[in-house]
Amino acid sequence: MKDSRASRIAAAGAVLACVVVAGAALRQWLAYDPARTLSVSLPGRDGRPADASSAGLATDLSGTFQQFGGVPAGLPGAWPRFRGPDFDNISKQDAPLAAGWDDDGPEVLWSVELGEGHAAPAVLNGRVYVIDYDEAARADAVRCFSLADGAEIWRHSYPVNIKRNHGMSRTIPAVTDDFVVTIGPRCHVVCLDAKTGAFRWGLSLQDEYGTVEPLWYAGQCPLIENGRAILAPCGPDALLVAVDCATGEVAWQTPNPKGWNMSHSSIMPMTFGGVRMYVYCAIGGVAGVAADGMPDAGRILWEAPWDANVVAPSPVALGKGRIFLTAGYGNGSLMLELHESGGAFSAGVVFDRTPKEWLACEQQTPVYVDGLLHAIMPKDAGALRGQFACYDPDGDLVWASGPASRFGLGPFLVADGKFFVLSDDGVLTIIERSRERYIQLGQAQILDGQDAWGPIAVAGSRMLLRDSKRMVCIDAGTSQEERRTR
């Protein structure tokens, strides 16, 4: 009897112990947080200060002037702005250019050391204009050289603090007989006398319009029409502005109702429905603005959203209201088509495709010639990455340069009916303008440096190219062939 009671007590104790242990285990299990060691990724943990990008912008743009011994050349040819006289990167100058070179390559006529960057030259009246960055003086420098021998004629400098950030300089001046206008890396605009270099006026787009400086500094190239500088500050209240080159007064200003930001793209004029307009692709969207000289100059005629976060190439007008837009960093390309009805314009999307589906370009603006689009494909274009490719406007690949011929992010243009394509590492390739296939005519190592991304300029038979630190002028004409045949 006693044993039976003792065993019941022992059993009850064992059950109780089990219950306690099970309860404790259950509590432990319920209390366990498998995510206890994880932290939440929240914005603002990189320590970025609120006003980081606006430091050190205040500067006296009247700056300092230096006169040198260079003399303007009496040579023919002009390349007065980004993408040339007709905004298409096609040289219509009649100087015959070489269709190939021997092992020595073309003659390098002169060479000039520049600050690190990608700013390229404009050429007019025997003068070569470059907005350079003088790292030693810590100053933007608008420099004028002789096309004949590269001797510097004058230089206008103003202090600005720039750190090396994938190069420092990166725009091309716009020049007329009277004025040269530049946009510096930190959005400083300067207008000078094209012949003497005398200071006319200066404008800080960040200070005046609240421009947000683009990543890796400003890449927008200015435009001069009717004696007015056409600029895209993309501030809160000004998408585009026209500034009188003679006086510096603002002639008209386009509002920025969507709050778009400045891109590296440049303003491209085009005409549709009898209306001349400026097409600008900002960060946020693309718009057509009535051009200077139109009765409603500065009015937004149409707009379309595009969410590309970095845009370097400029819009390409294909005719019949079609506009091709492209950007790197995975953004791909967009084909717009304009419609006009009773004076009102609208833009519709024809294609919106990825770099693996269609022509795209990360840094340079495609060339539209012979009814075909040409560009160096971006790094995210799959097997075509880095190849020079030709597409028809409907989206079909016509030809590509092949895996053995890749060009990186280099510039290209059409001159004397041929393509001239410069690779990252300074190799200049001549390509036949073919509708069927890639035909390489000639190739030569022109520059020894790296990052030869500055757009090419052509003046007569002279061709100006640059890498990150040096600009050269080569004789791209047929003199070598003539010497050989003699």
Binding site: V40, L42, P43, D46, G47, S53, K163, H166, L215, G330
Partner: protein, 188 residues
């Protein structure tokens, strides 16, 4: 006493052992000096397929992302850190490309940001490496961490690698590090 015909005589055994020892010593002396080797990834061949994260016998993988600071551009818009088309350039999870937040982004000075890899979190998926290769300088790349690798010599990742990027290298070398010349300039 009768002798077992299957028994190996002691004397013959000693002779065979001595011959084997002498032969081995001669072979070792005559053989070319060859040190130990280990598996490593050739960054020039790697296609960032993601198999390093899933095929290693370890979990997480012994393959980790490493960073060449001399090649990095220290960009605000970093293709290795941010999702393509990220809404904002900040440390919000919705903008991060790394699935395990193994890359830390730190403001240095305008306009530069530094990116460091938290090796304990990295799973070797290579997403950041692909982003850096497409939109940046290629400063991020994958390597087998020799202090983590179990050196089983039957590397499961090497068998799965579609780009033949795994190869044996001398153990004293250990790594195939990118230099500025291979990876491009420090400032793109």
């Amino acid at each position: 006493m009768t002798s077992d015909p299957n028994r190996f005589p002691r004397r013959d055994f000693i002779r065979a052992a001595a011959a084997l020892g002498v032969g081995g010593a001669v072979w070792k002396a005559a053989a070319p000096a060859g040190g130990a080797t280990v598996w490593q990834i050739d960054p020039e061949k790697c296609v960032q397929c993601g198999q390093c994260a899933t095929h290693c016998v370890l979990n997480p993988s012994a393959v980790k992302c490493v960073h060449s600071y001399e090649i990095c551009g220290y960009c605000d818009l970093c293709g290795g850190y941010l999702q393509p088309g990220a809404k904002d350039r900040d440390t919000g999870a919705e903008n991060e490309l790394c699935p395990v937040s193994a890359i830390k982004r730190t403001y240095i000075e305008d306009p530069f940001f530094q990116y460091t890899i938290d090796e304990d979190l990295c799973v070797g998926c290579g997403k950041c490496v692909k982003g850096c290769a497409l939109f940046g300088n290629g400063s991020l790349y994958l390597q087998v961490k020799q202090d983590l690798c179990v050196h089983c010599n039957e590397c499961a990742i090497a068998r799965a690698c579609p780009a033949d990027a795994f190869r044996r290298i001398p153990a004293e070398q250990g790594y195939l590090l990118k230099t500025r010349r291979q990876g491009g300039p420090a400032q793109e």
